[in-house]
């Protein structure tokens, strides 16, 4: 199961800062995470949530914040 703590841990490992990241902070559209870090994040989400994200679901609506990711994973499992 994917958790908020796991996503935060990934963001910090990749140069983010806990001060800058709230549950609704845009991760990708704000350039906090670059494109290829986003690919790694998608792989982490898939592995932790045990899902496969189809290409059409790889959108900012589903992945651009911690809240969006958690909501998407809940819907997909």
């Amino acid at each position: 199961m994917i958790t908020k703590a796991k996503i935060l841990e990934f963001i910090i490992e990749n140069g983010g800062s806990t001060d800058r990241v709230e549950d609704d902070t845009p991760l990708f559209s704000s350039s906090l995470l670059d494109s290829f870090t986003m690919v790694s994040l998608i792989m982490v989400i898939e592995s932790e949530a045990d899902i496969t994200i189809p290409p059409e679901d790889i959108t900012l609506d589903n992945l651009d914040s911690i809240n969006a990711i958690l909501a998407y994973c809940e819907k997909s499992t």
Partner: protein, 523 residues
């Protein structure tokens, strides 16, 4: 009247005034509307006493206002200097001061950054807004007047501008920590656009993607190829890099120019399915090494399209060499799985030299030099020393030879060139051209340290996926503080996301930092 960068646009505006010139996130403009709005900017600029440089910086989001601003500057007879909103204020201030500009063009989204950056620029007298804004915002910087353009008026007739005048200056990363401005004349960019237009034969029914950041010169190709042909420019939101593949498909794009990183990202996001882009006819890649597997996946995704790898640093006017992808032959002659950069345009010479400056025969590895009509006017803004460093006269060549810093080898059988690597510390990361020395200088400015060295890491499938900083210092620097501090000095894409502190750097036999040894610590 002499042909300038904007001539093609003006002809199209007269011939196809009611056609859409640009579709951007916030709406569309016909050629007539875009010309009318750009004319208002040109008229406003003509009211001001311009800086002697004839250059106007523009700090904008990639949206409708940006195109109005760029065309307005060109219509006014000045050259444009695009500045990225991803630059920290100090870097923006350095660029504006280097130009000595009195007027900055911006939009409301970029205004806070513009005000902060100009607070330390003596030359700036006013900020000209490209969209509506509360004029009281300038209270943040009382030395600068915030002005709105004149009412949109009749079509502004461009002044007769010398072909040797500057059309644009693009700032790139500099090895000593100060960005350098690459000067491009109207003559040079017009020759390039005419050459590429004849090659791809675009018509007014084509649909061109505008995906490149406006501070990269690939954006000059996108805009001015489209407007010369009278076709429509499609601009996706700059924030949604996850949705580019869908945008290409939904907008029925016929011509695209992408960095290989973007195609690789789409592939990793599983968006490069066979047949994904049925409308694409011309797919071009530029800006970094194109790997064969990415080119192949793209060719399958765009079955009706030609796929070409085009090569050229900003100094050589967008691009100067071309190779058309052929899945059998290109792969066969590739080196390190990288698609060849092919042959130079017909009026341009490419040659390979060794470290002593001797011309090498085909089959031998050396530095790639380019000589052509564009190298005559090649140079950096107010930096004659740097200009002299990169140009060399070689007997038998009519034009100066530009030292690209790229290592290449010419295939003895077919004469095609292959790119092999860099001769210096310049890298391409996520499509950005970065001098490692630029980052290292920023670290030395920000932290109490003896030395800094950047190692690109990790590297996956030949592609740089991140940057690690090694710092020789007696104190510890936490990762979070390191990233936050550097973000104020250099663009985010240049900030290493990991820092490793060492008491002492390993050195090689010549006493220089042993970079391979630093890298071995990461494996």
């Amino acid at each position: 009247m002499q042909e300038t960068l904007i001539s093609g646009f003006i002809r199209s505006a007269h011939a196809h005034g009611d056609q859409i010139a640009v579709s951007a996130p916030s709406g569309t403009y016909t050629y007539k509307e875009l010309y009318r709005r750009a004319s208002a900017i040109a008229a406003s600029l003509s009211e001001f006493k311009m800086a002697d440089s004839g250059l106007v910086p523009i700090l904008v989001e990639r949206d409708l206002s940006a195109f109005v601003g760029i065309l307005g500057i060109l219509l006014s007879g000045n050259g444009y200097v695009p500045i990225s909103g991803s630059f920290p204020p100090s870097r923006i201030a350095t660029i504006i001061s280097d130009i000595g500009a009195a007027t900055l063009l911006t939009d409301s989204a970029s205004l806070p950054l513009a005000l902060e950056a100009t607070s330390s620029c003596d030359s700036i007298a006013r900020i000209l807004m490209l969209d509506a804004v509360n004029l009281e915002s300038s209270a943040d910087n009382p030395d600068v007047d915030l002005v709105l353009p004149l009412e949109a008026s009749d079509n502004w007739m461009p002044l007769d501008v010398s072909p040797d005048a500057l059309a644009y200056v693009f700032y790139t990363s500099g090895s000593t920590g100060t960005p350098k401005g690459v000067k491009i004349t109207h003559n040079n960019i017009v020759r390039y656009i005419n050459y590429m237009s004849a090659r791809y034969e675009l018509t007014c029914s084509d649909r061109i993607l505008q995906i490149t950041d406006l501070t990269f010169d690939l954006s000059v190709f996108e805009q001015f190829m489209a407007w010369k042909a009278g076709c429509r420019l499609y601009v996706p939101s700059s924030r949604d890099k996850l949705g580019v593949a869908k945008f290409i498909k939904d907008s029925k794009i016929t011509t695209s120019l992408l960095t290989p990183s973007m195609a690789l990202l789409m592939r990793k996001l599983r968006q490069l399915e066979p047949g994904a882009f049925p409308d694409l006819l011309v797919s071009l890649f530029c800006g970094e090494a194109l790997h064969c597997d990415v080119a192949e996946a793209w060719a399958e995704a765009a079955p009706k399209s030609i796929v070409e790898n085009i090569y050229g640093p900003t100094e050589l006017v967008v691009s100067c060499m071309i190779h058309r992808w052929d899945s059998l032959y290109s792969k066969k002659i590739s080196i390190n799985n990288v698609v060849p950069i092919g042959q130079p345009h017909e009026d341009i010479d490419a040659l390979i030299i060794d470290e002593a400056g001797n011309i090498l025969p085909a089959g031998e590895l050396g530095e790639l030099l380019i000589s052509g009509p564009q190298t005559e006017a090649l140079g950096y803004w107010r930096n004659e020393e740097k200009t002299r460093e990169v140009l060399v006269e070689i007997p038998g060549y009519n034009f100066p030879c530009y030292k690209t810093g790229d290592l290449a080898i010419q295939n003895p059988q077919d004469g095609l060139f292959n790119w092999v690597g860099r001769a210096d510390q310049q890298i391409k990361y996520m499509g950005h051209r970065i001098e490692l020395g630029d980052i290292e200088a920023a670290i030395r400015r920000c932290f109490d340290c003896q030395q800094a060295a950047i190692v690109p890491w990790p590297i996956v499938d030949g592609q740089i996926m991140g940057l690690v900083a090694f710092v020789e210092a007696d104190i510890d620097i936490a990762n979070e503080r390191f990233v936050a501090t550097l973000s104020k000095e250099i663009p985010d894409y240049m900030v290493p996301k990991k820092v490793i502190i060492l008491d002492r750097f390993p050195v090689n036999t010549s006493g220089k930092v042993d970079r391979p040894k630093l890298k071995s610590q990461l494996v």
